[in-house]
């Protein structure tokens, strides 16, 4: 087949026109893509906690997403994968459109988006809490792995034990009866709190123990039972003074389990049978 110059040009030009029209349809945003340099971007995510991980307390984290290029990206989403956190995240300043995912918006090359995450650790959370942050966009990541960041830490149990007491009462048997209440003001359960009672020159024994108003076995001086949030123990002691009407000084002190964060409520009370009830706020 002989193709003359006219046919050649018509065919070549028609092919170019067709290609241009197809390209216009297949890549409708090609101009913007060129401005953004296309479809490749290395997103680097870092996350760090700004506060301690405490059960029942809010944790604040800072998440940084940096676009290392080579292309700018139009819409970057930040996906968070929390473990041991309660629902109800707040992520600022990105737009949250499905928890715990939010939209950071466009990132030019070299630009970094900083988000502040605030989330509540569940009151019953124990062990290690982790938060994963993952940046994703429509661009293909040129260096896989660094768009994901994970942070985590040991959960500190935060409970606030408080102690209150009645004035000691002298019984007809000559014993002195003293009732104290141990309350866990939360926000987390108190695990195996320990208590200590001092009565100089006298013997002391448990007379009654109530947990939540119900009788329970009296814990020993190094009890292992848990005290839930807002739970109350009533402990009643009886002490025998050395002689019938000798003054007796009693002191009751409670401590959270080792490693727990204590609150501000008084952890000890003191009482004396000479009529003075002392309560202090020191641990």
């Amino acid at each position: 087949m002989v193709v003359n110059g006219r046919q050649w040009f018509r065919g070549a030009f028609a092919a170019l026109v067709a290609l241009a029209l197809v390209a216009s349809v297949v890549f409708p945003a090609w101009s913007q893509s060129l401005a953004l340099h296309g479809y490749y971007a290395d997103l680097v995510t870092t996350i760090r906690p700004l506060t301690a991980y405490r059960a029942g307390r809010p944790v604040e984290l800072e998440v940084r997403v940096r676009n290392q290029g080579p292309d700018a990206v139009g819409a970057v989403d930040l996906v968070l994968s929390p473990d041991r956190f309660a629902p109800g995240w707040s992520v600022d300043p990105c737009v949250r459109w499905a928890q715990p995912t939010c939209r950071l918006g466009a990132l030019l090359v070299g630009q970094t988006a900083v988000s502040f995450v605030r989330a509540m650790l569940r009151p019953d959370a124990r062990g290690v809490a982790t938060v994963g942050a993952y940046a994703r966009s429509e661009a293909r990541d040129t260096l896989l792995g660094n768009e994901i960041a994970v942070t985590g830490g040991a959960i500190e149990v935060a409970s606030d034990l408080g102690v209150d007491a009645d004035p000691p009462a002298r019984l007809s048997s000559g014993e002195v009866e003293w009732t104290v209440w141990v309350t866990n003001h939360g926000p987390a359960d108190a695990h195996a709190p320990t208590w200590r009672i001092e009565a100089s020159g006298a013997s002391v024994r448990f007379a009654q123990c109530l947990a939540g108003g119900s009788a329970t076995s009296c814990p020993t001086a190094s009890g292992t039972a848990n005290l839930g949030v807002h739970g109350v123990w009533m402990l009643r002691f009886r002490a025998s003074p050395a002689s019938g009407d000798a003054p007796l000084h009693l002191r009751f002190e409670v401590s959270s389990s080792e490693g727990a964060i204590e609150g501000t409520a008084p952890n000890a009370v003191e009482a004396s049978t000479n009529g003075t009830l002392l309560a202090d706020g020191f641990e």
Partner: protein, 379 residues
């Protein structure tokens, strides 16, 4: 009045480059209006001359390198402007209306004026040049130095202004606007391109023009420094960064010497070819800031040979202008464009393709063709 579709195609495409949205529509406009021009017999039909053969050879090698490169989909997606280049080259060179290339130059003057206005409006609300560029929403301006494309056409526009009062009037508005845009974008490259193009044109015009050009440039430079503009105090690390990128492009070429890594894939290859951590500019840069080295790295030695052949065909297709003004214009544009291609232009930019098609048409289109093949009179 008879509508000339070839003119509509080219001028519409040029003006359509003003914004991203209109640039997207400009390509189908060029294709459809070009097809109408062909159907109405406004384009000369005949076998390809050696310039067109060189264009097609480069296009074929470019497509081949894309298909067998590191990321064919990326190469394809970012290569839409190369289609516009091919269409423009054909329409500009084959249109029967002889004034089309001149009108295209005027359309580019209008586009440059629009871009300058967009930059100036955007600069009122933004301080950083990169932010100004983003806010200007001009399809050809991706980084501040992209404004430099118009600097190399000043000799052409000024020569046109000497022949037409309307163009002279347009130039008195558009060229100062461009100058202000260069400063607003802190583009030393645009000013350097303008200075080189002006000096080259002055050299061809004679000693008096050289003195005038040198004095004007020196005065303008001193005024910039005295005004304490950000332009005068910008660091010069960009030169070191360019040298590193050129070295990186050569390293990529050594790894892929025959067909390169594929168009637009330099950025994917160079971090692995050099010690990217030791670069002056730690950012990944999508292009090596040198068109010959980019062609070498992305289409290999075959692509560079084809590109060189195209430049050779285009620059030797016609006899060099013999009159002083024509020679000055040619030297000015050639010097400015060469400088821009050597230190900034990229295949990623629409303006590179548009400017290349226009300059090829200017260099090869009208009068004095050595082989006269446009009209089928090839020797």
């Amino acid at each position: 009045m008879r509508i000339d579709f070839a003119t509509l195609a080219v001028i519409g495409w040029c003006l359509g480059q003003a914004t991203h949205a209109s640039a997207t529509l400009a390509l189908p406009w060029l294709a459809l209006a070009g097809a109408a021009a062909l159907a109405r017999g406004e384009l000369r039909e005949g076998p390809p001359d050696r310039v067109e053969l060189a264009v097609l050879a480069f296009a074929a090698i470019y497509a081949f390198a894309a298909a067998f490169g590191m990321a064919p989909a990326r190469s394809l997606a970012l290569s839409v402007p190369s289609l516009a280049f091919l269409l423009l080259a054909f329409v500009l060179r084959r249109a029967r209306r002889p004034q089309l290339v001149r009108d295209a130059g005027r359309a580019l003057l209008a586009l440059a004026a629009m871009q300058s206005l967009q930059v100036l409006v955007a600069s009122r609300g933004h301080d950083a040049a990169a932010s100004v560029i983003a806010a200007a929403d001009s399809a050809w301006l991706v980084v501040p130095n992209d404004i430099a494309w118009c600097a190399c056409l000043w000799p052409l526009w000024i020569a046109d202004a000497r022949e037409d009062r309307r163009v002279a009037l347009a130039c008195t508005v558009a060229l100062p606007l461009q100058l202000v845009a260069f400063v607003a974008l802190e583009s030393r490259l645009a000013l350097a391109t303008l200075a080189l193009a002006s000096l080259a044109a002055a050299l061809a015009l004679g000693p008096r023009a050289i003195v005038i050009a040198a004095t004007t440039l020196a005065t303008a430079g001193a005024a910039l420094i005295a005004a304490g503009t950000a332009l005068a105090t910008k660091p010069i690390a960009s030169l070191a960064a360019r040298l590193e990128l050129w070295s990186a492009a050569l390293a990529v070429f050594r790894g892929y010497p025959v067909l390169g890594v594929g168009p637009h894939n330099f950025v994917l290859a160079y971090p692995g070819a050099i010690d990217a951590g030791a670069l002056t500019d730690p950012r990944l840069t999508p292009w090596p800031h040198s068109l010959p080295l980019e062609i070498l790295a992305e289409t290999g030695i075959i692509g560079l040979v084809a590109a060189t052949a195209l430049v050779h065909c285009a620059t030797t297709f016609r006899r060099a202008p013999t009159d002083r003004l024509g020679a000055a214009t040619a030297w000015g544009v050639l010097t400015g464009a060469t400088f821009l291609m050597l230190v900034e232009a990229s295949l990623l930019r629409s303006w590179t393709w548009g400017l290349a098609a226009f300059l090829i048409a200017v260099a090869t289109r009208d009068g004095g063709a050595r082989d006269g093949s446009i009209d089928g009179r090839q020797r």
